[in-house]
């Protein structure tokens, strides 16, 4: 079984990915982002992004009711259904769902971010969280009947509220419970770059120990992505491939090991 994570950039070649899935079908769960569509929609609607800096110096975009509405429209509405359409056009039986639907992805609300304001410290709570569990019976029910779930945020918190979560964390949570034979992450880069500024610096293969070292040396988004991959490799080692989602056949390339293979 394949877990296929599709990045949220506008450069991703969804038609090529759909051709590859239709060409060599296999049971698969797809997780996708839509940050390019979200940012465009937020700009057009004038929904401001509030960035707060935690007392430990990390910047975070606060997930508010307004940004959640934009997320619902961009991820769950526009991008999710256009991906389902692209797959259905090639007779892949796609079914688009968020983590809220049928409580597919249950999560725990983040405790809030400690933010300095003058000499006070405030706890800023928002609508974000960490995935904790997957509704495996529902996913299996759909897959055993030939459907390909196409999943995206939001996920569902303890009280049934829609909250945002990181797609790498979601991918790791899915693998933890579905034990995929392969996890493919399609990015807007040729694979993991030792020097993020140099597209030629793709690392062809990494061992589990390599991933750990790179996590310690990285910062920000990359560190977070490697942290999630480490979680995958520690609990249920599998074949993880980071490949370029912009080529003519991104999934075929990934299946052929073109990109960064972690095993």
């Amino acid at each position: 079984m394949l877990i296929l994570k599709i990045g949220g950039g506008a450069g991703i070649n969804i038609e090529g990915i759909a051709d590859d899935l239709a060409g060599a079908p296999e049971p698969a769960v797809i997780v996708h982002g839509a940050n390019a569509w979200r940012d465009d929609l937020a700009d057009r609607l004038g929904v401001a992004r509030e960035v707060v800096t935690s007392v430990r110096g990390y910047d975070s975009v606060l997930a508010t009711e307004a940004t959640m509405d934009v997320m619902l429209m961009a991820y769950a509405g526009l991008r999710n259904k256009r991906i389902v359409e692209t797959l259905q056009r090639r007779n892949v039986a796609a079914i688009g769902l968020t983590g809220l639907d049928g409580r597919l992805i249950r999560g725990k609300r983040n405790p809030g971010i400690q933010v300095r304001q003058g000499e006070k410290i405030l706890l800023r709570r928002d609508l974000s969280g960490k995935p904790q569990g997957i509704n495996v019976p529902l996913l299996k029910l759909l897959m055993e009947n030939g459907y390909t779930p196409v999943l995206t945020v939001p996920i569902c918190d303890e009280q049934g509220f829609a909250i945002s979560a990181d797609n790498d964390d979601i991918t790791a949570a899915l693998h933890r419970e579905l034990r995929a034979s392969m996890v493919v992450s399609l990015l807007e880069a040729p694979g993991f770059l030792s020097d993020p500024a140099d597209p030629g610096s793709v690392i062809a293969s990494m061992s589990r120990a390599d991933v750990k070292q790179w996590e310690e040396r990285s910062t920000g988004r990359i560190k977070r992505k490697l942290h999630a991959i480490n979680g995958i490799m520690e609990e249920h080692p599998t074949r993880v491939i980071l490949a370029d989602g912009r080529t003519a056949h991104p999934l075929a390339d990934a299946r052929a090991g073109r990109g960064t293979v972690i095993a």
Partner: protein, 57 residues
């Protein structure tokens, strides 16, 4: 503030300045727990959640 606020963890009195605002974190002088000002009217204090690794988003 008519009644004097007490710490939800150790019941000791908690002395708040007049400038306290909602969401503010204050430390209980007696048990040094971190407390969150949940609301001012009525005044509600709760133990602040344990901070977990904070990645920034």
């Amino acid at each position: 503030m008519s009644t004097v606020p007490v710490c939800p963890v150790c019941d000791a009195e908690v002395h708040l300045q007049g400038t306290t605002i909602v969401s503010e974190l204050v430390v209980c002088d007696s048990c040094s727990c971190m407390l969150e000002v949940r609301s001012l009217d009525p005044l509600q204090l709760a133990e602040a959640p344990q901070e977990q690794e904070d990645w920034g988003e």
